[in-house]
């Protein structure tokens, strides 16, 4: 292993330590957090959406990815600020900090996801080979999440309200994403705007696999790949433009 790999490994280890240092349940929280949401939604909406079969599974399949997305973004938006003491004293590539942060989130997401597989099977998840599609989807979704987080993190160094703004808009994005409902209930004239939400396309293919048990829709997968590529390029561009100013603003 190269020392750079060691460094990422240690940074992830450090992040996990810091995250769960003073919590008794530790890792289990990455399971409990979405579970709590699931219970609330089930309680509140299950009557309203009784036409959706396996409603719990319907929510859960998108919900765990939402929790991963919003958690990562809020962590990554702070990554340069939190590591400012390292950035100021060490000459290592600054991109390693958001990368290891994303790695940390991925590890705790996967740990929760493994537990959720059992719950989803219990809730009626179809088990077939199509399930394997979830692996490339997780990779793609992680890349997209990383891009959004890196973008927020780079800008947050200069204007701290980017992070606050993100946390404010977070619930709005949550309810505007088809997590607890399906787009069938949206009036035709608004449908276009809902589809502008990148998360819609990701949730579409995630549900294809985890909820319907079919291969992900080809056209939606292409959308997701394009969205990821564009946001990744944008994030890298902004990061490169801003990185030399980090030190003076941290």
């Amino acid at each position: 292993m190269g020392s750079k790999t060691y460094l990422i490994y240690f940074l992830i280890y450090k992040n996990l330590q810091l995250k769960y240092k003073h919590s008794m349940l530790g890792f289990v929280w990455s399971f409990l957090h979405p579970l709590f949401y699931l219970l609330v939604f089930n309680f509140v909406f299950s009557k309203a959406f009784s036409n959706i079969p396996h409603y719990s599974l319907f929510i859960l399949s998108a919900l765990i990815f939402w929790v991963y997305f919003s958690g990562s973004c809020s962590q990554l938006s702070l990554t340069f600020i939190r590591n400012s003491h390292l950035i100021k004293s060490l000459n290592v590539r600054k991109l390693l900090y958001p990368l290891s942060e994303q790695g940390t989130e991925l590890v705790s997401f996967l740990a929760g996801f493994l537990l959720f597989i059992f719950l989803m099977i219990y809730l009626g998840m179809p088990i077939n080979l199509n399930l394997l599609y979830i692996i490339p989807i997780i990779i793609l979704f992680s890349a997209f999440t990383f891009s959004v987080g890196l973008l927020l993190g780079s800008l947050n160094v200069f204007f701290r309200d980017i992070g606050i703004l993100w946390n404010t808009l977070n619930p709005a994005l949550f309810y505007l994403s088809p997590i607890a409902y399906s787009l069938d209930i949206i009036p035709q004239q608004y449908l276009f705007y809902f589809k502008l939400n990148p998360l819609y396309h990701f949730f579409f293919i995630i549900r294809n696999v985890l909820y319907e048990g079919i291969a992900p829709s080809f056209i939606q997968s292409i959308y997701c790949i394009i969205i990821t590529m564009v946001s990744f390029l944008l994030a890298i561009l902004v990061y490169r433009k801003t990185r030399n100013g980090f030190i003076s603003n941290l």
Binding site: L11, Q17, L18, N91, F159, G245, I247
Partner: protein, 246 residues
């Protein structure tokens, strides 16, 4: 013929500074910062400096005159706006107060992270290194297993200094770490710096105390307003520094 280790040519560094204290979008709009809210504040001005292998250089100067910025530029953490900074030896991380230490983690974990960051992590030697750090810093294993937030400033300095020193760096950059250690440890550190120097390392030493600089370094420079106003023996630089206060 002495071998060149570090060469700075016409190096200028400026900080992107927030004009009128604009740190939020609200201020940005209210204070009319729309037209370039940032301004450049010069910290280093046309610095020309040659440091040779095995040399020991002391940097003195008042607070905010660019000493730490100069170190960071040499370490490659800050990229100069103008000029070039060529370093032809291996740089080890900067040794500054609290730099690179994670307060929530234990001393041992911090040592490991440090080793990984400086590219020296090796499973086989890590145990020996930890023993060396423990021995030199006089911190017991029990103390090393405590989180750093329970350490005193002096203990932090001991840990940081010992960790960097046990790796036999080629270029040692020290930014006022000695100031907080107790007398015994200061003496020990100075002795160790001399040992590292004798082994062929290049040392750059930043301090407020001209006597300390004289003890550790042969050559000295004095910084004022981002300019080098004196470049000579450490004694000359110390005198120049003392003159600043008359």
């Amino acid at each position: 013929m002495k071998e060149l280790a570090i060469e700075l040519k016409d190096v200028s560094v400026s900080y992107l500074h927030n004009k009128r204290g604009i740190y939020s979008i609200k201020d940005f709009i209210l204070k009319g910062g729309l037209f370039s809210p940032f301004e450049h504040k010069k910290v280093l001005n046309d610095i020309n400096l040659k440091i040779y292998k095995g040399e020991s250089l002391g940097i003195v100067g008042r607070n905010g005159e660019g000493k730490s910025t100069l170190l960071r530029t040499i370490a490659g953490i800050i990229i100069p706006d103008k000029g070039t900074c060529k370093v032809s030896i291996e740089i080890s991380p900067l040794l500054a107060l609290g730099a690179g230490l994670e307060l929530e983690l234990t001393g041992l974990e911090n040592i490991k992270i440090y080793m990984a960051i400086s590219g020296r992590y090796d499973k086989n030697t890590i145990k020996d290194l930890i023993d060396n750090v423990s021995e030199f810093s006089e911190l017991s294993m029990e103390q090393l297993k405590m989180p750093l937030k329970m350490y005193s400033t002096g203990m932090l300095a001991r840990l940081a200094f010992s960790t960097v020193m046990t790796t036999q760096p080629e270029l040692l950059m020290i930014d006022e770490v000695l100031a907080v250690g107790d007398k015994g440890f200061q003496e020990k550190c100075k002795k160790r710096i001399h040992q590292v120097k004798d082994a062929g390392a290049t040392v750059i030493f930043v301090s407020h105390n001209p006597d300390e600089v004289k003890e550790v370094c042969e050559r000295g420079i004095c910084l004022k307003n981002g300019h080098i106003i004196c470049d000579g023996t450490s004694e000359d630089a110390g005198k120049e520094y003392n003159n600043l206060f008359i």
